[in-house]
């Protein structure tokens, strides 16, 4: 399995801190391609540096560390402070994702109730009152469906972003995603789970 790559970096301003790699990574001494037997790039030389920088190849195993590139090239953490800030941001993003799910479910239920309520017709005659309600299909061009679609797109994008953040294999970021999801679920699900709202529907 190839786990070595050289990326010639056109953004020459950034020093990836090859020399200042002083994280708490216990495997700092190990170089790339450890343990691999037939690695064809084992002998690759750093001589073609020419003042350009190379990206560290992604460590495809769980590691702790402070140096990480998150989602975008410009979002790099070099210090503990930057990593803590990024973790907090990811935590909030994961919590908001849970809130978005609750919002979508709430809007969907509200729209369905309104549709059902609007479709009740009652006809008054002398002898009796008849109520008929037609089954109303959710219209494709209704405003509620449009909003649901928009929120769906946002939900898909955010969920893939969270997956990509987890894919950095950085334990601190993974913890931020997991705990953010749990906290968001707890906070945004509180009302539906705990508050007994008799106005919604009979349980």
């Amino acid at each position: 399995m190839h786990n070595m790559s050289v990326t010639i970096n056109p953004h020459a301003g950034h020093d990836m801190g090859n020399a200042t790699y002083n994280t708490v990574d216990p495997h700092a001494g190990h170089d790339m391609g450890s343990g691999s037997i037939g690695d064809p790039h084992a002998g690759h030389n750093m001589g073609s540096d020419l003042g350009m920088n190379m990206n560290h190849e992604m460590k495809m195993y769980f590691h702790t560390g402070v140096m990480e590139t998150i989602l975008f090239y410009q979002w790099q953490t070099h210090t503990v402070g930057a990593m803590v800030g990024s973790c907090i941001g990811i935590f909030i993003l994961a919590a908001l994702y849970e809130g978005l799910k609750v919002l979508r479910e709430h809007l969907l239920r509200k729209h369905n109730v309104m549709t059902r309520a609007r479709s009740y017709n009652s006809a008054y005659t002398d002898a009796m009152v008849t109520e008929t309600h037609a089954t109303v299909q959710p219209r494709m061009c209704s405003k509620a469906h449009f909003i649901q679609t928009l929120l769906h797109v946002i939900q898909v994008v955010v969920s893939y972003f969270l997956m990509l953040v987890f894919m950095t294999y950085n334990i601190w970021l993974c913890l931020a995603v997991a705990l953010g999801a749990g906290t968001g679920y707890f906070l945004f699900g509180w009302r539906k789970a705990v508050v007994i709202d008799i106005n919604e529907h009979c349980h």
């Binding site: 343990g35 190849e57 495809m60 239920r109 939900q155 969920s159 993974c174 705990l179 749990g182």
Partner: protein, 177 residues
Amino acid sequence: MMGMYFEFKDSLHNFLIYGWNTSTLSSFLVIIAVCFALALLIEAGRALHSILSHRANLSPLVYAKTSRNVAETTPLLRSLIIPTNVDQIVKRKIKYHIGMSLLHVAKVVVAYVVMLAVMSYNAWVFVTVVIGSALGYLIFGAIQHKITTADTPDTHVINNQDDMLGTHSQTSYEPIG
């Protein structure tokens, strides 16, 4: 970067944890067994979530919780027992909600770890995860269905309403969780 294509290799290199390599077939099979168990866990977590949310929404008349701790089991007497105060019900719901939040965290972690396992692009791991998910859904889905649609006389109406509202919360697209 590693090759971005599936291949049938019976060796794994730095699988999820640094230094987790396989040199023999038996160690590879251990990793396959772990992936299989993780896929089963995903389905188990999903089923458990559904069961817990169903139990949490049961009407107090069904589980007949009173402060007097009377073990009345006949439906007639149970319908006469009314919980003494709403606080008790709220406390019970809070406990269920905390438990389900913790379950949610576990579900998220396991789902992401399985995603990373599949990302190793090892075809054997992928096939194992698929088979594990299928078996998990078969086993735990059956259990979940049996528990959440229990057709006992006094829970009959309530369970129908739960089905209408959608106890299985897969109405929205959630790739993970």
